[in-house]
């Protein structure tokens, strides 16, 4: 006989999806807000590209995972 088969589960338990979605989207939106506040308030010459990119990058990671978990918790299994 073949070796005993192991059941495959999701890497993140299903029950966590809504909590994770809310948490990560909240963090992501706060970072987005700080990104735009920085864009609007700092003058063109004093703006640092590295800071913009890191804020945007971290915000997009949180927003990306947050929206993925939002989709999953809504039943759209991607």
């Amino acid at each position: 006989m073949a070796p005993p088969a192991k059941a495959i589960t999701s890497p993140v338990p299903d029950a966590w999806y809504p909590t994770l979605a809310v948490l990560m989207l909240a963090i992501g939106l706060v970072l987005t807000a700080s990104f735009f506040i920085y864009e609007a308030t700092s003058s063109k010459r004093n703006r640092s590209l590295a800071k913009e990119l890191t804020t945007g990058g971290v915000a997009s990671v949180f927003l990306g995972f947050g929206s993925l978990f939002l989709l999953l918790s809504a039943g759209v299994y991607v």
Partner: protein, 611 residues
């Protein structure tokens, strides 16, 4: 009549066929025909005996052509006596056979016995044959008030290429209301069961047609086409969507349909119609829906326990003969119940056919949608199926998901067995979807950055453009000035803090060191401030802000001096070992001035900030 002609044909076959195909003899055959559903099931217990000297391991089963074309399922298992513990029975291999010197009007299947039969040995096995569309409604058209009568034809004698010593046949009907049946010798009737036989010592290929005409108001639910889509998501779900095209396969409905009559006396005016269907979904099924092209159909009931989830659905209208309906049901299943990993390959293990009870499916298409990035796909099905591959574009896909399509015609509930789809999948491929979302958001941020940085004015030499450029430069410089001033203020705060430390610990050296560091820092800051101020003085567009900035710088300098004086006074007081009260009195006046100055500087900073 067709059946009589067939009978003649069979008789000629019986005469022409060579009498001894092999030395096998069927010593006992028990046949039970179940007509209690619209799916006809014939279960036979056959005892085969080898009367010849040669070893035999193949047994042939014969079916007349008209039966063979309706046959959906054939299975042979070794017979286990009643009362024995039911071990998981292993089916005997059954193959379509084409033996020589046999009449063409018969279809043969051969069963391989687990071991060869030597002379005098015997072996008993069960054969289950399932037929669809084998019941013919007569009359073919009925009205709403009529009951449905169906006709079944078969042979009272077991049709076999071997001689049969003892045989009997029982026909089980759904109801004791029988319109007519063929009476032969040894025919008995018990309620809803008709018994033929026992008959003894019949030669090979004996055939004796019988016909049973009886009432059957069971649901003749036939799915002309069923498309099942099984979509795997490694994020924890197996989504099953089933699209049904259903027809009532019984006697055609004629005349008009009265909803009032149907509602008033549904068992009389609409006996042949069926109102609901039952689906036995796997346990822990969730997000079940039942809809059609219009939208949700609310007439459904769901209840579940740990063994199964039962879904009862009612079509939008009662189904009469020949009426059609199309609908979709869908449900989600937990991933860990159906997806496994073994030998570094993943496989889906799920039932092949529809969960509906007693449903005949004319054409079943099963689509298994694997996640994007799966490779090396192979299918293991317990029966032959047509198979090909497609791709499907779904949520967050780039090049589509691989789809395995399996097609089978004439499917009965017996086909609802597990099948496996094996594939290779790397865990990293799961990150495709989140990465796609992340890059989407990131591109948005990059676009914002580019927009904010890009200079998109058309005329680069116009006066207003130049003024704006200059103003921006001034703004940048003012921001820097503000920055420096606020750093100065922090230094002042540090000095104050060092004074508080001094009053607590009395460590004069530390306080002096703090003073030195602050001096150095302030000197540097004032050096940095100088070129900025000269720029502001030279720039024409800074004219209106300049006085305020200069005032700010002056006030700050004054504040700085005052702080230094206060610091020096306090340190001096401590060095002379004066009382705390004394020192307090000395700096009280200075402290007042300091607070006022600090207030002014803060006001100025705020004012400049607003420009």
């Amino acid at each position: 009549m067709e059946s009589f002609r067939f009978c003649f044909l069979m008789l000629t076959i019986a005469i022409l066929a060579s009498p001894a195909l092999s030395d096998l003899v069927l010593s006992k055959v028990d046949r039970r025909i179940y007509l209690t559903s619209h799916i006809v099931r014939i279960s036979s217990t056959v005892k085969v005996e080898n009367a010849g000297p040669e070893k035999e391991s193949l047994v042939l089963l014969a079916f007349p052509e008209q039966q063979a074309k309706n046959m959906a399922y054939l299975m042979a298992t070794p017979h286990e006596g009643k009362g024995k513990v039911k071990n998981p029975v292993v089916a005997l291999p059954v193959e379509a056979a084409n033996p020589k010197d046999m009449p063409a009007a018969l279809t043969f299947y051969s069963i391989s016995l687990p071991m060869g039969l030597a002379e005098g040995d015997s072996f008993t096995f069960d054969v289950l044959a399932v037929f669809t569309h084998a019941l013919r409604p007569i009359p073919e058209q009925i009205t709403q008030a009529d009951i449905q009568l169906v006709l079944y034809q078969d042979s009272a004698h077991y049709l076999s290429p071997y001689a049969v010593k003892v045989q009997s046949l029982s026909v089980k009907l759904p109801d004791s209301r029988i319109e007519s049946y063929t009476k032969l010798e040894n025919t008995k009737i018990h309620g809803s069961e008709i018994k033929y036989g026992p008959y003894e010592n019949l030669p090979s290929f004996s055939y004796s047609p019988i016909a049973v005409h009886f009432e059957s108001n069971l649901p003749f639910s036939v799915a002309q086409e069923l498309v099942r889509e099984i979509e795997i998501s490694h994020w924890g779900n197996v989504q099953v969507t089933e699209h049904y095209k259903l027809i009532h396969g019984g006697a055609q409905s004629k005349g008009e349909f009265s909803r009032l009559d149907f509602l008033a006396r549904p068992n009389v005016r609409g006996a042949s119609a069926f109102r609901y269907l039952v689906a036995n979904l796997p346990p822990r099924a969730h997000s079940v829906y039942y809809r059609d092209e219009i939208g949700n159909i609310s007439t459904s009931h769901l209840r579940g326990d740990s063994k199964k989830t039962e879904l009862l659905i009612e079509p939008r209208y009662p189904m009469f003969g020949g009426w059609r309906t199309a609908f979709t049901i869908g449900y989600g299943l937990p991933l860990q119940d159906f997806l496994y990993e073994s030998d570094r390959k993943r496989f889906l293990n799920i039932t092949f056919s529809s969960p509906m009870v007693e449903l005949v499916i004319d054409a079943l298409i099963v689509k298994v949608v694997l996640p994007e990035g799966s490779s090396d796909i192979s299918v293991a099905a317990p029966f032959p199926v047509e198979q090909w591959q497609e791709t499907k574009i779904s949520h967050l896909d780039i090049d589509g998901r691989p789809v395995v399509v399996l097609k089978k015609t004439n499917v009965v509930p017996e086909h609802n067995q597990f099948f496996q789809v094996y594939y290779h999948f790397s865990q990293l491929s799961m990150l495709r979807e989140p990465l796609m979302l992340i890059s989407g958001f990131f591109f948005f941020f990059v676009a914002c950055i580019v927009y904010m940085h890009a200079d998109i004015s058309i005329s680069k030499s116009s006066a207003s453009y130049l003024a704006k450029q200059q103003w921006e430069e001034v703004q940048a410089v003012i921001q820097q000035v503000q920055n420096i001033i606020s750093r100065c203020l922090t230094t002042h705060d540090n000095l104050e803090a060092s004074l508080r430390d001094l009053s607590r610990t009395g460590n004069i050296q530390a306080c002096k060191a703090a003073r030195k560091a602050a001096d150095g820092l302030l000197k540097e800051l004032s050096k940095e401030l100088k070129p900025l101020l000269t720029f502001l003085q030279s720039s024409p567009s800074a004219a209106q802000v300049l006085p305020k900035v200069e005032e700010l710088v002056a006030k700050e300098r004054e504040l700085q001096e005052k702080v230094m004086v206060k610091h020096a006074t306090v340190v001096d007081g401590y060095e002379k070992k004066l009382g705390a009260c004394d020192i307090e009195n000395r700096v009280a006046l200075q402290q007042q001035k300091l607070t006022a100055l600090r207030q002014e500087v803060d006001d100025l900073l705020e004012f400049i900030d607003e420009i």
